[in-house]
């Protein structure tokens, strides 16, 4: 018996030594010796101003930042053309550089690998001057050679041709002329610069991509402030400081992203100090971070809208009176109070988020006012005085499910009996694709550009996708969508988008009830961060942005 037990135990130890190649943060639970909290953000953010960080003195070099991510990154997804989630973007945008970067409020652009650029009058030709003295990170197939205009043109052409979701659909090609990169667009599109700031726009060296083939994602190379040194799928991705970085020298020696899919566990790890940052704090956990004197909460409005959509092709919902009655029976303020009680969102009214430059509060007047009696009367007029049964499709995210139950209660007041069907995201997408939804609750993320919201909602090209499950399709509107997308003059674009917002409200495609807020939980030792108006936490930003995270031990 003793021998058997000894055998089993030694077997366990041997298996332990064999088990994967993995590593974990050195567990040093508890950071009670840290200084008391400075200005932990107690209030809801009033605007997109980046949250201030505690300032305990002069920044110091060295140290490692540990960040918890809630979704796994598959091995190849660190290749900019294969990245498929915000989780991938979090890592890719630290090792990779793009031609331009957005300002913190996502309204304007800063020069990055391109030092300046010009746009032709018809908006179809963009010419970029490429920064000199920038070197690639050292890899197996090149030894940190200098970046050239050819690399930029090659990378953009590759991303356009190879990304599997059709990056830059309006792009024709890029080529080098007189040492500059000239990008030709098939159709003018004002979102081009914004698209260039995304992960797919990262510039990569040809020889590394071709040398590694489909393994490039496991050995990604670009010109950014950090280098991917180790990537263990489902466990962690470690990045170390790039000693040859052309920009501001990062304070940190290393950044490690740990995959912690369970939110409660991520919060525990933040509390014990095993991780320094949790980028997806939601619901009651927000209050938990607020209440903990050793943690800092920062919030900023996210370019993300939550809405109750109407399928216009549905036999019942095709009647505008029914849609209007439902809109009138919904009190947005009450939903926001119920769903975003922790300050992670606020009521909004238009088919663009409040952070967008296309949001004009004056247009809110066009939204039907909350009036239950009028809603009942309208429903009776439409022939549903005796009540109506509708199915509401919703994902599994807590905020959407809670909104669904509140909406269900509100609509029961006017005799609309709502059956809530909460499904996985793939099932919801399936229903969009097969046009089998009636009412649906959706969330849409985008940029400050209204084209990423109302422009997509009303676009025939986006029919039956997450963007346009409303089944709205009108050639005249498509014309305006294309025109707004092509126009490079901001004032003219704003006017066109206001027209589209009016069209969405007139038709009443849905109830755009809230703009959500992005909440991060940070340990006391993290300093020098700026919460930008986007999901990605940049660890070391461009000169002048003030972003360069450092940690105290």
């Amino acid at each position: 018996m003793k021998k058997l037990l000894a055998l089993i135990l030694s077997g366990t130890l041997i298996l332990g030594s064999l088990a994967g190649c993995s590593k974990n943060p050195d567990p040093t639970p508890g950071n009670t010796s840290d200084p008391p909290p400075a200005a932990a953000d107690e209030n809801k953010p009033a605007d997109s101003t980046p949250a201030p960080s505690a300032d305990p003195g002069a920044p110091v070099y060295g140290g490692e930042l540990k960040i918890a991510l809630n979704r796994t990154i598959n091995a190849e997804a660190l290749d900019p053309t294969l990245a498929n989630s915000t989780t991938c973007d979090q890592v890719c945008l630290q090792y990779g550089d793009t031609l331009v970067q957005e300002t913190a409020d996502a309204v304007d652009y800063l020069p990055s690998l391109a030092t300046d650029w010009t746009i032709s009058e018809d908006g179809k030709v963009y010419t970029f001057t490429i920064r000199e003295g920038v070197h690639f990170q050292k890899g197996k197939f090149q030894d940190g050679r200098e970046l050239t205009a050819e690399d930029v043109a090659w990378s953009l052409n590759r991303a356009h041709e190879e990304s599997w979701w059709g990056y830059l659909p309006f792009f024709d090609h890029a080529e080098v002329q007189d040492g500059k990169v000239v990008c030709y667009l098939e159709n003018a599109n004002a979102t081009f610069l914004h698209e260039l700031t995304s992960t797919s726009g990262i510039i990569v060296p040809k020889e590394e991509v071709e040398g590694w083939g489909d393994q490039f994602g496991s050995h990604p190379i670009s010109t950014g402030p950090f280098i991917v040194s180790e990537h263990v799928p489902d466990q962690y991705t470690k990045l170390v400081k790039n000693p040859d970085y052309w920009g501001v020298e990062p304070y940190l020696d290393a950044v490690t992203y740990y995959i912690v899919t369970d939110e409660a566990q991520a919060m525990n790890a933040l509390t014990t100090g095993e991780v320094d940052v949790v980028l997806t704090v939601s619901g009651n956990y927000i209050q938990q971070v607020r209440d903990n004197p050793n943690l800092v909460l920062t919030q900023t409005p996210e370019s993300r809208l939550s809405f109750l959509g109407f399928n216009l092709s549905d036999s019942v919902l095709s009647d505008k009176r029914v849609r209007d009655a439902i809109s009138m029976a919904i009190d947005r303020k009450q939903i926001a109070d119920g769903v975003y009680a922790n300050g992670d969102g606020a009521a909004s009214y238009l088919p663009v988020p409040v952070t967008s430059w296309g949001y004009d509060p004056a247009l809110e007047e066009l939204v039907p006012a909350y009036d239950v009696d009028a809603a009942k009367a309208l429903l009776t007029e439409a022939g549903y005085g005796n009540g109506l049964n509708l199915v509401l499709t919703v994902g599994t995210a807590d905020a959407y499910v809670r909104a669904a139950t509140i909406i269900q209660a509100m609509l029961s007041q006017i005799g609309v009996n709502v059956e809530i069907q909460s499904l996985s995201s793939t099932e919801v997408t399936d229903r969009y694709l097969n046009n089998t939804v009636q009412l649906f609750i959706g969330g849409q993320g985008g940029s400050a550009d209204p084209g990423t919201f109302v422009g997509n909602f009303l676009s025939t090209a986006k029919l039956h996708t997450n963007f346009n499950a409303f089944c709205y399709s009108d050639p005249a509107t498509d014309e305006i969508v294309n025109q707004a997308g092509a126009e490079t003059d901001r004032a003219k674009r704003t006017e066109l988008y206001h027209e589209l917002i009016k069209e969405a409200l007139d038709t009443n495609i849905g109830v755009f009830y809230a703009t959500s807020y992005l909440s991060w939980g940070l340990g006391q030792r993290v300093h020098g961060f700026v919460q930008e108006n986007k999901s990605v936490m940049r660890v070391c930003g461009l000169e002048g942005t003030g972003i360069n995270i450092w940690v105290t031990e």
């Binding site: 332990g16 059709g166 996985s424």
Partner: protein, 321 residues
């Protein structure tokens, strides 16, 4: 006995055929499109068809099954759509992590469960017996996720003794780090089988201690210690051993939940992300491997059973098994 083993091995074939057919059907029955899951937030209807074609998802279901079955016969478990690597490689990387967790848990459960069971049987109806019975009842009835959360709150968050997530290896991080990381998930996974072992050992030992052979040993003046640990426990072993097989399979399956809670990179986290992503090949291959492990463990248990109790082997050869 060889005849019996051969017979049992042959019985494996139809079992595995059923598993293959069942997992194939089950993955096709989960609502949701793998292509939509792959494209994620970048979902674009125009790209869907091309990708479906590329993945062979446009073929009729019987054709897909035929291809899948032929591939398995050749040892090819397919490519994971989401991870873009062969499913068998994914399993090879993860299986040791799950094994180390489930084997450690099983060992702890056996040691503690059998020890407490014996003590409980020896002092039947004493205060110790009542306390241990309550502990074992708690063990078999407490939900794993609740135990896990409580353990993390106590040992990681409040006391700060142990890490709350992740895995370490002896080779890379050292024995101390390995033990610190495995303690909580392992303890959590051991709770249920420990309760079961304790209860089985207790009842089996009570029978054994009351048997004529033990009475004869006592009459001969053999020490009580020797009677309990050498003779009575040996006689009480067969039912315990039967449960070992079942509990090991249970630990393997229970790892799905535990691994997810503790971010332990094993088969459990892999299969849940595979299901989320509708990664058909990976789901099929993982279920097949788990099913294979299940039947092999049961086969080994049966063989051990025959070694311990030769009467079973004779019965089996006569067609009783």
């Amino acid at each position: 006995m060889q005849k019996v083993i051969l017979k049992r091995l042959l019985q494996l074939i139809p079992t595995l055929l059923v598993v293959i057919a069942f997992t194939f059907a089950a993955t096709r029955l989960i609502p949701g499109d793998p292509v939509a899951a792959m494209l994620g937030e970048q979902y674009d209807a125009t790209k869907v068809d091309a990708l479906r074609e590329e993945l062979g998802l446009n073929d009729p279901i019987p054709v897909q099954f035929g291809k899948y079955f032929m591939d398995i016969l050749q040892g090819d478990f397919g490519e994971s759509y989401y991870f873009n690597t062969s499913a068998i490689n994914m399993i090879k990387a993860r299986l040791p992590n799950t094994l180390v967790l489930s084997v450690s848990s099983l060992c702890i459960a056996i040691i503690v469960g059998v020890l407490f069971g014996v003590l409980s049987a020896k002092r039947q109806s004493s205060l110790l017996d009542y306390v241990l019975t309550v502990v074992s009842l708690f063990g078999v009835s407490a939900p794993v996720f609740w135990v896990a959360i409580m353990m993390v709150l106590v040992f990681s968050v409040n006391l700060g003794w142990l890490p709350s997530f992740g895995m370490a290896t002896i080779a890379q991080d050292g024995l101390a780090a390995f033990l610190r990381h495995i303690t909580l998930p392992c303890a959590c996974l051991a709770v249920i089988p420990m309760g079961t072992f304790m209860r089985i050992t207790r009842s089996s030992m009570i029978d054994s201690l009351g048997s004529d052979s033990v009475r004869a040993l006592r009459a001969r003046g053999v020490s009580e210690r020797s009677i309990v640990w050498k003779h009575a426990l040996k006689n009480a072993l067969p039912p315990i051993l039967t449960v070992v097989g079942m509990q090991f399979a249970g630990c393997f399956a229970g790892a799905v939940l535990t691994e997810n809670i503790f971010s332990w990179p094993g088969m459990g986290t892999m299969i849940s992300s595979a299901i989320d992503n509708r990664d058909y090949s990976l789901i099929q291959a993982t279920v097949l491997v788990v099913a294979l492990a299940f039947v092999i463990i049961n086969l080994i248990t049966d063989i051990l059973y025959m070694v311990i109790n030769p009467k079973v082997a004779i019965d089996a050869e006569n067609g009783g098994m």
